[in-house]
């Protein structure tokens, strides 16, 4: 059974790159361009891990994260947050909000893969 990742990322090319990297490693990737339907997708798809971009149209990564942590059913879900802003302030805020791993863009592919294996493996 392949392991399942939910990817929420609005930049088409970045999403494609991540899907490719994980897909090659045997992961099944579901991609959403925005966070409007994030909870529903988690409840139906039951992913092992959520990769969440910070700057999203309509609903920011923080809002989605807060919604996940507030939901009893979803709260144990491991979350990997990505951002192009990559400043200390965002990192602190993300960790306070209960993110499991925080990665700045651009990232190395190996690092990304390692982080995903690490987080999903622990689940």
């Amino acid at each position: 059974m392949s392991r399942h990742v939910l990817l929420i990322e609005d930049e088409q090319h970045i999403a494609e790159a991540i899907s490719f990297i994980l897909g090659r490693d045997g992961w099944q990737v579901t991609h959403l361009s925005d966070g409007m339907t994030a909870e529903a997708a988690m409840k139906t798809g039951r992913p092992d891990l959520v990769i969440l971009d910070l700057m999203l149209p309509g609903r920011s990564g923080f809002e989605i994260l807060a919604a996940i942590r507030a939901d009893a059913e979803l709260s144990p879900m491991p979350v990997l947050m990505l951002t192009a802003k990559g400043q200390g302030r965002e990192r602190d805020e993300a960790e306070r909000a209960g993110v499991d791993r925080f990665m700045a863009k651009p990232f190395s592919n190996a690092e990304m893969l390692a982080a995903v294996r690490d987080l999903a493996g622990g689940a």
Partner: protein
């Protein structure tokens, strides 16, 4: 002479006047007024005082009553020679308070009371309608005189039909040139100049006939004097009561007649013109009356006994076979009649629309009136009013059948107009005059005038039954219309003038003394009476901050038009030390705006409209104390404090704005760095990820091709961002190279529309353009300008949230500057964001939706600065609207 030829001459003359008026309006529209606004034209326009009643009638008057006709000219002479007393003050008040009519003046003085406006309007309409009828009659009579002496080869004129044609033609002329626009303080340069031309024609005509009579028919001046003493005219005896009374009435009329007030006060473009008119207008009257007695004497001698002396000016040259001279005289009479009717119609229509129609419109549609297009309603009301005034004049003429009774209507109308005198003079010289006093005085005077003079003028038994004349109403002997309070044996005209004015002034004074004026009344009273005191106008009565400036702007646009309103608002904002189009709603600003609006719709209506937005005017006790304070020291002290405070608060406002902007800028600086980081890292992420994948090798060729293309696209995106940043920094430093050349604006707009159609091509935009206005050749950098246009159009394509998006491009050219407005029908930009949109990375909505980096408008602003122009956001256009302003010919790169 053939009737057809006469009609042809008339038509040619009228077409000539049309051309004059049109030419002047055209020049005025482009600001080239020059000599058109000279004291000469002003003086000549005052000649509407000399109507057909004086042109033809003065000779008849002299034939019947000797020198008494002179009183009609001597009264105005005294008023003008004594301009330092009254006229100077009236004109100053009229200009400072943007008075639109005599009704507006009285209404504005007495607390912007519309009740008074209505009363005065009614008096004016009632008094002027028969007078207009008289003019129509004189034209038809003069037609008749011509045809009667000529061979009967043409169709005989039907006097009713002639009247219809004349009234209709005048209505057309008046509507065309009297209601072309609402702007410019109710002035009509085209009409005024046409009137001035007519003034010359009538003066030349009368002088020509006079010279022909004195040197052609009689043997020079000495002979004429001989003949005067031997004619029946010398039987005339001066009646002191009529002599003094008529001089007084004509003096009052020259101020109070609506048409005189119109040319004297409303159309005045420069107070200094009055100094010239003070002697030049009496000179005009002098010249007009110089030959009246000689013409009358020779006419009595030469023409058959039954000849109508009212037409001597025309029939004398005709009977001597001087058709050319007679034609000139006819055109002179025609000019006198038409100029009076045109000006009277404009003046009355302004009153009717401002004081009767607009208040009703505002009362019936209180909400919609503020939102709807009021300019059209006002103009329509005015046009309909002009038609109605002339229609009433014609109806009066048709119903009265052009009876001889009409001849007396000139003086009757003077007495009616004189009823305004107490309220007018009391208003500008006496601060104690109150609204109740004025209302009662006017009503009493009007009623007495109607009862003792106007209604009896229709003939005994026509309106008032015969027995009332002999026994009084209900047997009340002292109420007989021609012998009020048992005063018998007086001349009926003087009797009426005497009683109506005494009772009018008495009621006005008594009620004024006994009543207490409201706050607005006291403020206005002080402002009018002390008009020559320097600027400090006292409290304005508006409280601060209740009105939303944008709402005020929208209302002002409805009345003044977009351009005028925006100019007024931006100038006011500048005066407050603010940038942009929206000044703070300070009491001073609101008072200014009210004054500006009242120049278009009258004081009472303007006050009511602003009250809808700013709340009721509240004058506090302290404000009134300041008005009432007579102490110069307190005034000076508070004035100085006020000036200081004004200065301080202006500085504070500027500082506050600067501080706000700095704070925002610092926040933006952080955001800018964070943004740059984000904008650079995002493409970098894809590039790094795919390049790492490719480095690992072992991939099918098509996959490699795809990933390489992505890397390439993202690299281009990075380059574009860097280009934009670089562009911006070059523009900001002013080191940009401009390629100036002569280019067609229309071409640039075409190109920009084509280029920007790639942005969200799925959206179908309706583009509104006015191609002829775009046909301008401008000297600029066309590529840079197109860059700005493309940016604005693309923004509109991206952000306009209307279901049926429309974009309007409006080009205007004025005084060496070109403005291009881009207005869409979306929801626009909220007010708190308007100041920010031209800053870097100031995207308003979600970052990704638009796809750009948020540098577009910042670049546009810098480009326009380099092109010697500006780009601003236009509030209140019903959508997002940007205005690009640039010089028609940019000589050298502007930014140093």
């Amino acid at each position: 002479m053939a009737f057809n030829l006469l009609v042809l001459a008339c038509l040619a003359y009228v077409i000539f006047l049309f051309l004059v008026a049109f030419w002047v309006e055209d020049r005025a529209a482009t600001g080239r007024t020059g000599w058109l606004r000279s004291p000469l034209v002003y003086t000549l326009s005052l000649s509407v005082y000399c109507t057909a009643w004086t042109f033809y009638g003065a000779v008849g008057y002299a034939a019947r009553s000797g020198l008494e006709f002179l009183t009609i000219y001597l009264g105005p002479t005294l008023v003008f020679v004594g301009w330092w007393w009254i006229l100077r003050k009236l004109v100053r008040i009229g200009r400072k308070h943007r008075i639109t009519s005599i009704a507006d003046l009285i209404s504005s003085r007495y607390g912007k009371s519309n009740l008074l406006g209505v009363i005065v309007t009614l008096i004016c309409v009632v008094a002027a309608t028969p007078y207009i009828a008289l003019q129509l009659q004189s034209v038809t009579l003069s037609f008749g005189a011509f045809v009667a002496t000529g061979p009967a080869d043409g169709p005989l004129p039907d006097s009713q039909a002639t009247g219809v044609w004349v009234a209709g033609g005048l209505a057309l002329f008046t509507i065309l040139f009297g209601t072309r626009n609402l702007d410019a303080n109710e002035q009509h340069p085209g009409v005024v100049t046409a009137i001035a031309v007519e003034a010359v024609v009538k003066l030349v005509a009368l002088l020509a006939v006079g010279i022909f009579v004195v040197w052609g028919l009689a043997g020079g001046p000495l002979d004429v004097i001989e003949r005067v003493n031997s004619s029946t005219i010398a039987d005339w005896d001066l009646m002191p009561s009529r002599w003094a009374g008529l001089m007084f009435l004509s003096a009052a009329a020259v101020i109070c007649l609506p048409r005189m007030f119109q040319v004297l006060v409303v159309e005045n473009s420069d107070e200094r013109h009055l100094a010239t008119a003070s002697w030049a207008f009496p000179l005009y009257l002098f010249a007009m009356s110089l030959f009246v007695v000689p013409i009358a004497v020779i006419g009595l001698e030469r023409l058959p006994a039954g000849a109508n002396p009212d037409l001597f000016v025309l029939t004398l040259p005709l009977s001597e076979g001087r058709e050319g001279l007679a034609m000139l005289a006819f055109l002179g009479g025609f000019s006198s009649a038409t100029s009076m009717v045109i000006v009277a119609a404009i003046a009355l229509a302004t009153m009717v629309s401002n004081h009767i129609v607009m208040p009703i419109v505002l009362a019936v549609l209180p909400k919609k009136a503020v939102a709807g297009d009021l300019r059209r309603i006002v103009l329509l009301a005015r046009r309909v009013s002009i038609g109605a005034v002339l229609g009433m004049g014609y109806a009066y003429y048709a119903l009265s059948g052009g009876s001889a009774a009409l001849a007396a209507i000139g003086l009757i109308s003077f007495v009616g107009a004189a009823q305004m005198l107490p309220a007018l003079l009391g208003g500008i010289f006496w601060r104690g005059a109150t609204r109740s006093g004025a209302a009662l005085g006017l009503s009493v005077g009007f009623a007495v005038w109607a009862y003792t003079l106007f209604l009896p003028s229709f003939g005994e038994g026509a309106v008032i039954p015969v027995h009332v004349f002999t026994e009084g109403p209900f047997g009340l002997d002292w109420m007989r219309p021609r012998a009020l309070f048992g005063v018998e044996g007086m001349d009926p005209l003087i009797h009426s003038a005497f009683w109506s004015l005494i009772l009018n002034a008495g009621a006005f004074f008594l009620v004024s003394v006994l009543s207490f004026p409201g706050p607005v009344e006291r403020v206005q009273g002080a402002a009018f009476v002390n008009i020559f005191d320097a600027e400090g106008a006292g409290p304005t009565g508006w409280s601060r901050g209740q009105a939303e400036p944008e709402a005020l702007l929208i209302m002002a646009q409805r009345i003044l038009g977009d351009d005028e309103a925006l100019r007024f608002f931006s100038k006011s904002a500048e005066k407050q030390g603010k940038a942009g189009f929206l000044p703070d709603p300070t009491p001073d600003f609101i008072a200014d705006l009210e004054r500006r609006l009242s120049g278009s719709v009258g004081a009472a209506t303007a006050h009511a409209m602003i009250s809808q937005l700013a709340g009721r005017a509240a004058v506090s006790v302290e404000d009134l104390m300041a008005v009432a304070s007579e102490s110069a020291q307190i005034m000076e002290y508070s004035a100085r404090l006020e000036a200081q405070q004004e200065e301080l608060s202006r500085t504070a406002r500027q500082l506050r704005e600067a501080n706000e902007k700095l704070t925002q800028l610092s926040v933006q600086k952080d955001a800018f760095l964070s943004q740059i980081s984000h904008e650079l890292r995002t493409p970098m992420t894809s590039i790094r990820a795919f390049s790492e994948i490719m480095m690992e090798g072992d991939m099918p060729p098509e996959m490699i091709a795809r990933q390489a293309r992505i890397i390439n696209e993202e690299a281009i995106r990075l380059t574009r961002l860097l280009d934009d940043l670089l562009d911006l920094s070059v523009l900001e430093n002013g080191t940009v190279q401009l390629n100036l050349e002569l280019a067609n604006l229309q071409g640039i707009i075409d190109r920009s529309l084509a280029s920007s159609s790639h942005t969200r091509p799925e959206r179908i935009f309706t583009i509104h353009r006015d191609l002829p206005s775009e046909g301008l050749y401008i000297r600029t950098d066309p590529d840079r300008l197109a860059q700005v246009f493309i940016n604005l159009i693309s923004n509109s394509r991206k952000y306009c949230d209307s279901a049926n998006p429309e974009l309007k491009i409006v080009v205007r050219h004025k005084g060496g500057r070109v403005t291009v407005d881009f207005i869409d029908n979306g929801s626009g930009i909220p007010k708190d964001k308007q100041a920010l949109i031209f800053e870097k990375f100031a995207r308003l909505t979600d970052q990704t939706r638009a796809g750009g980096a948020g540098l577009g408008l910042a670049i546009c602003r810098e480009i326009m600065a380099n092109l010697g122009g500006t780009i601003t956001y236009l509030p209140g256009q019903g959508g997002a609207a940007f205005r690009v302003t640039l010089p028609l010919r940019l000589e050298k790169p502007a930014l140093a």
